[in-house]
């Protein structure tokens, strides 16, 4: 999906970016240890025009990554990862460590590559024809894109929840234990236990316990999405990937899912892609802002929303742009 920033808004944006850039520069001198100072200095002109403008022109910046992100223990490490759909490059040299046991949100306008990044983690994008990649992602130190990696085994170490709930056309029970089924688990007792555990884990058990053998397609939208979460955690994944899990849900169901994420946090490491800034600020511990395939700023959610390093981030999270 190619989406461009509406051009009509750009002049204002540009001016504001320039203005706030100056203000920020003065207010936080030298606070950004990882900031690409030399690059910025060399391109004063561009910096004034706004970093996002520069990115649009295809220029490269080092992302602003807050220190405390690096100090955490990491479950995932995106290491110089680039991705192409055909000739179109969707991700540009992403370097991004993802902390263990925390919720990391990826935000950004449409087409910024956040979903691509998420789907690259479990190599779902590799199923599409005519794609290629560069760099690697490490899952607890193991390469995801290495030559000898068995992608099936790899995906069993991750769970994924999609934008639109996608329960399989089978019973609730079979849906939840699907990861175990494809893994060859046949012990009824184990399956039952995992099913109940996962349903409890996704706060769905009380609602469906008396119709666990009924078709999953009879559940409501919110229940279906929680069922998908139950399915994603049934295989005890090392990381849980969520691709805009609430965008198709009503507010009540959204709150349920968000509460659920809070419960799951700690036990599972969660990466969530979201359009919804409020959601990102509500649920996540860390937050990454991406723009046109590049990581722009990445830090603790509180800092990113209230006290970002870059003015562009401030613009985006406050809704003045995007």
């Amino acid at each position: 999906m190619k989406t461009q920033v509406p051009r009509s808004e750009l002049p204002d944006e540009e001016a504001r970016g320039r203005l706030e850039g100056i203000v920020n520069d003065q207010s936080q001198p030298g606070s950004e240890t990882q900031s690409p100072e030399p690059v910025v200095r060399q391109n004063v002109q561009q910096q004034e025009a706004g970093r996002l403008e520069a990115i649009q022109r295809g220029e490269t910046f080092e992302p602003e990554i807050h220190d405390c992100v690096r100090q955490e223990e990491h479950v995932l490490n995106v290491d110089g990862f680039s991705f192409w759909y055909g000739d179109k490059q969707a991700l540009f040299d992403i370097n991004m460590p993802i902390p263990k046991g925390k919720i990391t949100a990826i935000i950004g306008p449409s087409g910024c590559g956040k979903s691509t990044l998420l789907r690259s983690i479990n190599r779902l994008n590799g199923l599409l024809a005519d794609t290629r990649h560069q760099g690697d992602i490490l899952l607890n130190g193991d390469s995801v894109y290495g030559k000898s990696v068995d992608v099936i085994q790899l995906r069993k170490r991750m769970g994924m929840v999609f934008q639109k709930s996608n329960p399989f056309p089978m019973s609730i029970f079979e849906n939840v234990v699907y990861p175990l089924r494809v893994d060859g688990e046949r012990d009824k007792k184990v399956l039952n236990e995992v099913c109940i555990q996962s349903l409890k884990g996704s706060a769905l058990y009380d609602e469906v316990q008396d119709r666990i053998q009924d078709s999953a397609l009879g559940l409501s939208g919110g229940q279906q999405q929680r069922l998908c979460i139950a399915r994603a955690i049934a295989g005890e994944p090392e990381v849980l990937l969520m691709d805009e899990p609430c965008s198709a849900l009503d507010p009540v169901a959204t709150i349920k899912i968000e509460d659920l994420m809070q419960d799951l946090k700690g036990e599972y490491s969660i990466v969530i892609v979201t359009h919804n800034m409020q959601q990102a600020s509500r649920v996540s511990d860390y937050c990454a802002f991406m723009y046109l395939g590049r990581l722009v700023e990445y830090g603790p959610t509180g800092d990113l929303f209230t006290n970002p390093i870059l003015p562009e981030t401030a613009d985006y999270v406050s809704g003045r742009f995007g």
């Binding site: 995906r155 994924m160 996608n166 056309p169 089978m170 078709s215 397609l217 295989g235």
Partner: protein, 593 residues
């Protein structure tokens, strides 16, 4: 979204600008007013009318078949007409039609009728009515039917004792019973007594004849078959060990013993047959026909005797269903124009089932490869086009291919390998229900492939992704997610294939359908299903009875009833498949919430 609305907006504003200038606006308006296309209503009438026409044609076809097929077995009154020139015509009315008297037709009438007709024509009545009477008694009169002009009728009666006999050969017989004899000794006389005696004795004779046929067909068949088997065993010993070997000599001795044993058995059966024949031919009935002739009919020849004119409604209904029963579950008689169609019914169903069993797995596998594994490109699209074109190839071409490939190449190969002792008589190297099914499977394969491909393509990508994300392999995803979800669509293809396959006739004539099959392709002798046997088929039966029969007018009802049955079978099979599809759909595809 933003992007897609933007061009629309600009287009709208562009149009608005254009309509601002007065000239084009005016022209457009005028054009719109005069255009029939701009106003919806005529198109509604056109499209709706086309639909009504199609539905009307289908309904009238089905109504015709239902009426004609449904009324065939209804026992009508047997009428007796006395014509103006003194002859008597007896029988059932088959149909009637109006006739316009032209000079040619008038000149063909007999003198007395001619006078009457000419008088009518002079009065201005140029049309008259005539009726087709089924007179039967073919052995006496050399005709089954007679047209009778209403103007030539002097007297019309329903004689109480005019009865109908359905015979094993020569078709129907109409006459008034006169006497019943046992070996020339009269045991009953007069219509009523004779009829009563006939009804008392007929059941026994009927069973005797059935037994006779059974002994002839099954007992002798069994003996001959086992003897044939032994002979073939000896032949295969000869092929294996040579004619000089000890094994061969031993086999020969064994065969001799068996032949001797069979001979005594045969003698016993022959004796039984002779006894049955004698007993069966004891009773005869003498009847008086329309011409005043006396005719003697052996009771053994009579399948059923009906005193139609004495039957009340419930009696008629009973007879109606009895005839349907006979039609469905009896063997055909009289070159298929009488009796039942059981072998054709069985043949059709077995062939359709075998065809489905062959075409569905193949079609699904082929579609799976095309849709799931093959890389889209020139080759795949060429194959897809080829498959679609295959659906348009005339079916007789498939018949020729089936004969050439399945019967003569594959079948002969099988004979060479497994049935050498039977050569030069072919076992599989000729038409049979297996090859017919295979040919039809080939014919219907494109339908299944196309439908399955579409069904597979309709499985949401989100489900596949969900499955892959759970760590499922490609085959696991196909097997657990794609196939169940695509099953209703696959069933649609299966239904279409079945409907096409069951109604196909042309290719079958080349690969195994026969006019009269001595044995069913399925029976109680191991291995129960005999796929090498020729079989009868309802579609071919219709063609054969309707167009190859000597007595096409008498066969016409059979054509309608057989058509009705064929349509009902296809409809029945389809209904079952549709019901299954509905269940699958409810189970696997729920409407989105």
């Amino acid at each position: 979204m933003i992007q897609s609305t933007a061009p629309l907006d600009s287009a709208d504003s562009g149009q608005a600008r254009r309509s601002d200038s007065p000239m084009p606006k005016k022209r457009r308006r005028r054009y719109a007013k005069s255009s029939i296309l701009a106003r919806g209503e005529p198109m509604v009438w056109l499209t709706g009318g086309s639909l009504v026409l199609c539905v009307g044609m289908i309904i009238s076809l089905i109504a015709l078949i239902l009426y004609q097929g449904g009324t065939t077995f209804w026992p009508g009154k047997i009428l007796s007409f006395k014509t103006v020139n003194g002859t008597v015509v007896q029988g059932e009315i088959t149909r009637s039609s109006s006739v316009t008297y032209t000079p040619e037709i008038i000149s063909g009438l007999d003198p007395k009728t001619k006078e009457k007709v000419e008088a009518e024509v002079a009065k201005g009545n140029k049309t008259g009515h005539r009726r087709l009477v089924r007179t039967g008694n073919f052995d006496l009169t050399n005709t089954h039917f007679e047209w009778i002009d209403n103007n030539s009728i002097q007297e019309e009666q329903e004689p109480e004792w005019l009865v109908l006999l359905e015979r094993r050969s020569w078709g129907r017989f109409y006459g008034i019973p006169k006497a019943l004899k046992r070996n020339d000794e009269v045991i009953a006389e007069g219509p009523e007594a004779t009829w009563k005696a006939f009804q008392e004795n007929h059941t026994e004779v009927y069973e005797g004849v059935e037994r006779f046929i059974g002994v002839q067909k099954y007992d002798f068949g069994r003996i001959h078959k086992s003897l044939e088997k032994s002979r073939l065993r000896l032949k295969s010993i000869e092929l294996e060990h040579g004619i000089e070997s000890a094994e061969y000599r031993e086999g020969q001795k064994k065969l001799q013993e068996e032949t001797n044993a069979t001979k005594s058995e045969e003698a016993r059966l022959n004796e039984e047959l002779a006894l049955l024949k004698k007993k069966n031919s004891e009773l005869t009935m003498t009847l008086v026909t329309a011409g005043g002739q006396e005719a003697t009919v052996p009771l053994a020849e009579i399948v059923r005797g009906v005193a139609s004119n004495q039957l009340n409604t419930s009696g008629r209904l009973g007879l109606y269903f009895e005839r349907w029963w006979e039609f469905l579950f009896d063997d055909p008689r009289e070159a298929n124009s009488e009796g039942g169609i059981w072998p054709a019914l069985v043949g059709t169903v077995i062939m359709t089932l075998l065809m489905s069993a062959a075409v569905v797995p193949f079609g699904i596998l082929a579609a799976l490869y095309l849709r799931e594994y093959a890389k889209a490109g020139f080759v795949v699209s060429t194959i897809r086009i080829a498959i679609n074109n295959l659906a348009g190839v005339p079916s007789i071409v498939f018949g020729v291919f089936g004969l050439g490939f399945f019967c003569y190449i594959v079948g002969s190969g099988i004979d060479e390998m497994f049935f050498q002792e039977n050569l030069p008589n072919p076992t599989y190297g000729k038409g049979g229900v297996l090859w017919a099914s295979a040919t039809l499977a080939l014919l219907t394969l494109p339908v299944v492939i196309v439908a399955t491909e579409e069904a597979i393509a309709a499985v949401p990508g989100s489900m596949r992704e969900g499955s892959y994300a759970c760590g499922a392999s490609k085959w696991q995803t196909i097997q657990r997610i794609v196939l169940p979800r695509a099953l209703p669509g696959i069933m649609t293809g299966f239904i279409l294939a079945m409907a096409r396959g069951a109604g196909e006739v042309a290719p079958l004539m080349l690969v195994g359908v026969v006019k009269l099959a001595p044995e069913l392709p399925i029976d109680s002798v191991a291995p129960f299903l005999h796929p090498e046997r020729s079989f009868m088929h309802l579609g071919f039966h219709i063609y054969d009875v309707g167009f190859q029969s000597q007595n096409s007018e008498a066969a016409k009802p059979m054509v309608y009833t057989t058509t009705l049955l064929l349509i009902s079978i296809i409809a029945g099979l389809n209904l079952v498949a549709i019901w299954v599809r509905g269940r699958l759909r409810r189970r696997f595809i729920k409407t989105e919430i």
